[in-house]
Subunit: 204 residues, 4 copies
Amino acid sequence: MPETPQQDGARRASIGARRNPAAEAAILAAARDLLAERGYAGFSIDEVARRAGAGKPTIYRWWPTKADLLIDVYSAEKAAIIAAPETGALWSDILDYTRALWAFWRGTPSGRTFRALIAEAQAGEAALRALRDKFLPERLKDLRLMFERAAARGDIDAAAVDALVELYIGFNWVRLLTDRIADDPPGIEAMARTLAGAPPGKAQ
Amino acid sequence: MPETPQQDGARRASIGARRNPAAEAAILAAARDLLAERGYAGFSIDEVARRAGAGKPTIYRWWPTKADLLIDVYSAEKAAIIAAPETGALWSDILDYTRALWAFWRGTPSGRTFRALIAEAQAGEAALRALRDKFLPERLKDLRLMFERAAARGDIDAAAVDALVELYIGFNWVRLLTDRIADDPPGIEAMARTLAGAPPGKAQ
Amino acid sequence: MPETPQQDGARRASIGARRNPAAEAAILAAARDLLAERGYAGFSIDEVARRAGAGKPTIYRWWPTKADLLIDVYSAEKAAIIAAPETGALWSDILDYTRALWAFWRGTPSGRTFRALIAEAQAGEAALRALRDKFLPERLKDLRLMFERAAARGDIDAAAVDALVELYIGFNWVRLLTDRIADDPPGIEAMARTLAGAPPGKAQ
Amino acid sequence: MPETPQQDGARRASIGARRNPAAEAAILAAARDLLAERGYAGFSIDEVARRAGAGKPTIYRWWPTKADLLIDVYSAEKAAIIAAPETGALWSDILDYTRALWAFWRGTPSGRTFRALIAEAQAGEAALRALRDKFLPERLKDLRLMFERAAARGDIDAAAVDALVELYIGFNWVRLLTDRIADDPPGIEAMARTLAGAPPGKAQ
DNA sequence: AGGTAACCGAGACGGTACGTCCAGTCTTTAG
DNA sequence: CTAAAGACTGGACGTACCGTCTCGGTTACCT
């Protein structure tokens, strides 16, 4: 993955009085790779600038806080993410979604990126606001769909949807933040059945 | 709370070839107060040393990583924490426990401390291990009690206990990490009833 | 003095394929005011451009180095400067000239400007050349007049004129560069009499 | 000259809660060499730190401003400087002293250093104060000796000493600041005779 | 009883990163 | 061709912390 697209020896100059997409791409790529290689501990604006062949002011101009940069890195990757699946049963929807999400977190720099974003939010107000007011609601909306569909089918109580979504998100956060998102079918399935109210032994 | 017990003008010398409890207390108190005042962002070993009137090596001697210090700060406060309540019904047990936990997080430096610990775990392997292998299991064991009691009563399926605990922990983490632990009876109650499998309208 | 003539809200566009006098005036005025307000330390092309409502390239086009700009700023003000006086005696000529020069340096941004120019000459070859080969000879020529007149009168040895001029310039530079050009009649008079070879007690 | 005494591969650690002479020496040497090589334009704290193998805070700890560092660099070299000579006549004293001074300025990094110090004084109050209140008086005292001796001999008027010293210093400054301190016997001699009041043709 | 080992505060050390400012160059858009 | 605008890389600024080290001093333990 680490294949930052720049450093062709030539210097990347301005393209006039507007944002240079090449610079933006180089910075995002450098940030992504750096996160992938060294995690949050090694993630510094200095190093991103160095790798991207960019000036620090260029970074600060477009991403005033680290959180802004992290969000963009995460979003750029999220394109690949799975839409809520539709297996017919909530518990297996959850199972599929979770495995896909964890695979995404493991297989791309995204897991590291999201962990970094949460960490950053514990230190800075800006990151916290971004996480709470922008990131989380978006994800919530996304997930609610899955649960509302189940409610429409009568699988779960419609009044419980909000709580279920938040519980589900929490489960994923704890796993990610404690670095336990290796593929874990038994753990995930138990969680999925519990959330869906499906008896544990009951086959799909 | 900020009443760091030191700075009497006199220098706190060694008491021989063993740990000086006064130094330890001063450092923990300084760390606690600093966290309370400035949060994770302002939490530095330099500042703790300054406030405690301690030398940095003294801190590093006993707490090699920030995480070690954070854990001790958190543990020192945890004395006050509530044992799992016993109301007779799981959903109200959860409700009580959660409100007590959040009050504890809000009313002491503990919330800040725990947030700091989680953030630290995203940057350092040591903190991660401490959080995952020492802190979390301990908490898990603590909480499992509450759910196992409910399973014994037949309120929930015994096979779901582990998942329920992890879901519940996740809910609390998300709330804490996004700074949404203000007293929130509706949100907590919905979560508690959902987890306990109790119909939303059902009175206590 | 700070009354930079621009910033009328309107944008100052090009006036075709030739230098825009309005832009030039605005830049010189901005440079002068900036020097007056913040001295050499605060004198940056960025800030001049900002104040003048000009683009940096516009400045660099016409004044390739800071020294060029400083020289123009100084020259623009120098119009007001006193021609060599004619009191009949060298020592009082010097006295008058010096007091006029220092008053000029104190009362306009010129003192700051000239100090900036000398400082700039210590860092850049261009400024050095400008100072040494353009500025200094011009001033020398100006001053030599005063001393040559005295030599013609027989007050001083004609062969000493060059040395006297350079000594006199040096005196002024040291005073300016160490910020000691407050009105100083005794100091100036002693210097003037010494240079002119006039006995100190001798009245005019 | 550039033979900075460090970089033996080993890291230069602290030697306890006190200033490390090795670090001080390395920093002064690096500063001196940098000045010699690149002059004031290339003189940055960053580069000094790099060359000295020192941390920037170590430099700022002991030399809060650039001027402080420049003064120390100049002073360290000044050991070699010539005491006021005693040839029996003022004009030849001046001649000797000047040639020795200029040779010193040319032959060591001192010329560059002093130019840098003067430049710095145009930008910062600290440097100005150091130059005006510490450096200049010291030099003045040094030089007054030479002129007072001449006054005692009756060569010059005792009342003119102060002015003569300041004129003489000014002459040297102008020459240094305009980079004209190449050996210049005619120019120096004319100045010396003029200051000393000796007829130009008179042999030694 | 004396020597020594480990502790204590203090603070300097080499470093890395921070976020900002400025230098000088470039390109676009408009006149 | 000119001007304005503002982006671009690059590098220096001065500060905050990091984790390590050495000092000088104190006290308890073990010969």
